[in-house]
Symmetry: C3
Subunit: 153 residues, 3 copies
C-alpha cells in the first residue's frame, strides 16, 4: 500500500466549549447544519482540536455526505427507505408506520460523530457537508449538542 | 431552515479518565449499559466534556437507541437479520453460520461513539439508552473501554 | 446483566497532536491503515487518551473490522454491494454507476471514529484492524486526519 504520513503538529488543550443547536426539520430528509457548526467553532474561539456532534434522538441521525448535487440526498433517502421499509411486519407500530423504519435508519447511520478543527476552521473535505437527517414523515424539533475539545485562538 | 444556537459554555480540560467494562451477553440482542456508563462518569469525578465508548470486538457493536418500548429492540434485531441474512453464500463460514452476518451487522452499526457529559451527567436524550448489541447467537464476554475527556468536578 | 467496571485511571490532558495521512487505494475494497495509525501514536509521543480518525471523502469510509481472515473483507464488500446495488434506479448517475452506491455505503459505515490509546499503544481488540474502505471501482487518493487528544509520554 502507498501511504504517506505528514508532519505532526502539537498543541496544548485548553478549551472545551459546549452549545446546543435546535433544528426544526421539515419531515423526512436532509437538513444542512454545516454553517451552524462553523459558526459555533468561530464563536467559541476554537483553534486546533475536534468538534464533537451529538443528536439527542433515536428516529433521526447525523451524516457527513456530499454537498454538491442535491440528487445525492434524494437517492440516500431512497436507499434508507429500501433498507428499512414501512411495510415490513414491525412489532413496534403504535407510533405510526414511519416510526420503526425511522429507528432502523437511525441505528444504521448513528447519532454521534466528530470533525477535525484545524487553524480555527472545520476540516471537512471539499465535497462534505454535515447533515441532520430526519427519518420521521412529519416535521420535528431536534436537539444537537456541539462540543469543541482543543486549543483556543 | 429554522435553527437556533444556544449560548456557549467554556471550561478548561483537566481530566482524562479511563476504565474497562466487561459485559457478559446472553447471545443475540441488546444489553443496556447506560447505568454502567453513568456510574463511570460519577466515579471518575467528571463534570463537563464527553464520554467516549469503544468496543474491542468485530461481531458485536455499540448503539444508542430507544429505551422505552422493548419491542423496538426486537424489531432492530429483526432488521439486522434481514440486512445480513445467515443463508447468504458467505465465503467466511468456518466460525459458524452466525459469524459472518455478525461481522456485517458490526460494520453497519459500529464500535465507537461518544455521549456529551454536562454538569456531571450523561447528556442523553429523554428516550435514549446506550446498548451493547451482541450479534453472535451464543453468549459472549465483551470488553468495552470507557473514557472521559473534560473537566473535573 | 453481569457487568464489571474496572478501576479508573486518571491523567491530565496536555497534548493534541494532528497529522494527515494520504492513502492510495487500489479501487473497491479494504486498505489496512492500522500500522500508519500506530506509527502516528508513537511519533506524536502520545500516552493515554484517544485517537480520532476522520476521512475527508463521501464515497469511501472508515471501518474497524476483523484482521485475521481476508475472506471476511471479501464478504463485507459483497454485503455492501447487496445493500447498495449498482442497478438500482439512482437519480444521481452522472459520475458513473459505482458512484451513488459508493455514497450509500459511505453513509452506512461512516467517516469518523475513535480508538482508545492506553500506555502509548492503540487499544484495539485482538482481532481488530483499522481500515479505509474504498467504495469506488477505480483507485483514488484519499485523505485521512489523525488526531490524538490525551497525555504525553
Amino acid at each position: 500500500m502507498a501511504a504517506r504520513l505528514s508532519g505532526i503538529q502539537s498543541v496544548t488543550p485548553d478549551l472545551i466549549a459546549t452549545a446546543e443547536l435546535t433544528v426544526e426539520t421539515r419531515g423526512e430528509g436532509f437538513t444542512d447544519i454545516t454553517r451552524e457548526a462553523a459558526r459555533f467553532i468561530e464563536q467559541s474561539g476554537a483553534r486546533d482540536g475536534a468538534l464533537f456532534v451529538y443528536l439527542r434522538h433515536t428516529s433521526a441521525s447525523l451524516v457527513i455526505q456530499e454537498n454538491a448535487d442535491p440528487d445525492v440526498q434524494t437517492d440516500l433517502t431512497t436507499a434508507l427507505r429500501t433498507l428499512a421499509p414501512q411495510d415490513a411486519p414491525w412489532v413496534h407500530s403504535v407510533e405510526g408506520p414511519d416510526d420503526m423504519p425511522a429507528h432502523v435508519k437511525g441505528m444504521l447511520t448513528g447519532v454521534s460523530l466528530h470533525i477535525p478543527v484545524q487553524s480555527g476552521a472545520l476540516g471537512l473535505g471539499t465535497w462534505q457537508g454535515l447533515y441532520l437527517v430526519e427519518h420521521r414523515a412529519r416535521p420535528h424539533r431536534r436537539e444537537v449538542v456541539l462540543q469543541f475539545i482543543g486549543s483556543k485562538t
